[in-house]
Symmetry: C2
């Protein structure tokens, strides 16, 4: 399967590439050559690699620095089997086979950390403690931002990410977060891409379909 | 204000940097030296720069390639004034002064694009058409992932991003998306950082506070 790399850019897109400061190889690594992988090699993904990814992406911004993303690395065969059973049919085989599977969830009780991570505003915790729905909304929004950053971090590590939302998220919550205080947003397969890892690259919306001016 | 750059990494973090393929300068540009800016220079942000950012980040993944993020560049003085009036008090002055302000919203009717952007599954549109709540959930989750990617794209362009959630989002929806089919998630100031652009860097959660193993 062909990948779109720097050399393959259309003239149209290359024209707009000029203003970017990030070097073209890094652009390829993070955005253009990187693809959602559907198969992986057997090469393991180590805790050291995940630590490197975390310590890079942790710096990216969240609302009031609230950092609600929580990650469960599904390492045991038993946990993997439980998770696979809760994935959508189209996602079971690849989730079974990936070198590493991570559950990416929002912590609804992120506000308990605010006195430590947003210390200059002592009232922050209580502000959220009294408003469960605002807390859930902020947890989900910011954890999703962090999943975007994490995806870039996985790619920065030279690995392919296979993020999935086709799963029984409520059941994953019950199985993996028995405290009832987390919301699973994405399950991500991670590893080196294997044979036939890529589906055909799907079309993206045009600039004028996405960006308007007021 | 000091920034944390590659050279300043603690031994602890530098130890975990080894496995990353992305070069350290790019890591700094996107994650470590990049900071949420609170002041900007007068240098304008051009449409050409925004196009370059979009054509880079459009490749990053969304569920079923649904790409629900929509962006309004607030270019006119009149629109800027309307938006500023809907920002939280702490965000008004910087939103008034930033070279470019972008409204980042989720399109609840993204499913109308699926026949074009997810063409191999002809039933995709109808699947979502019948389930408004699933559609809103997917729109918000995936638009937030895309805001994460967009933030990285702004930084890739050598610009600073100032993402904000302190605003009257429902009122911004009414003012800027009169079709009632969009949900504003983030308003982002964009430009070259100015004098005293950075607040003190806030603490990040430790690896073991975020990542668990099952």
């Amino acid at each position: 399967m062909t990948q779109i790399s720097h050399a393959d850019l259309t003239d149209y897109e290359a024209e707009f590439e000029a203003p970017l400061e990030l070097d073209p190889q890094a652009q390829d690594l993070l955005f253009r050559e990187a693809r959602t992988a559907n198969t992986f090699t057997d090469e393991p993904v180590t805790d050291e690699q995940v630590k490197a990814i975390y310590h890079l992406v942790k710096w990216a911004p969240t609302s009031m620095n609230n950092q609600p993303l929580r990650i469960v690395l599904v390492r045991s065969d038993e946990a993997r089997a439980r998770l696979v059973s809760l994935m959508g049919d189209g996602n079971k085989a690849k989730t079974e086979a990936a070198p590493l599977v991570a559950i990416l969830a929002a912590d609804l009780d992120f506000h308990d950390e605010l006195p430590k991570i947003f210390p200059h505003f002592p009232g922050a915790r209580d502000l959220f403690a009294g408003n469960e729905s605002a807390r859930e909304e902020s947890a989900k929004l910011n954890a999703a931002l962090q999943i975007g950053y994490f995806t870039m971090g996985v790619r920065a590590a030279g690995l392919a990410a296979g993020p999935m939302t086709g799963l029984d998220a409520a059941a994953v919550d019950r199985e993996f977060f028995p405290d009832g205080r987390h919301r699973t947003l994405v399950v991500m397969n991670i590893g080196k891409p294997g044979e036939d890892a890529w589906l055909q690259r799907l079309p993206r919306l045009g600039y004028d379909e996405v960006v308007a001016t007021a």
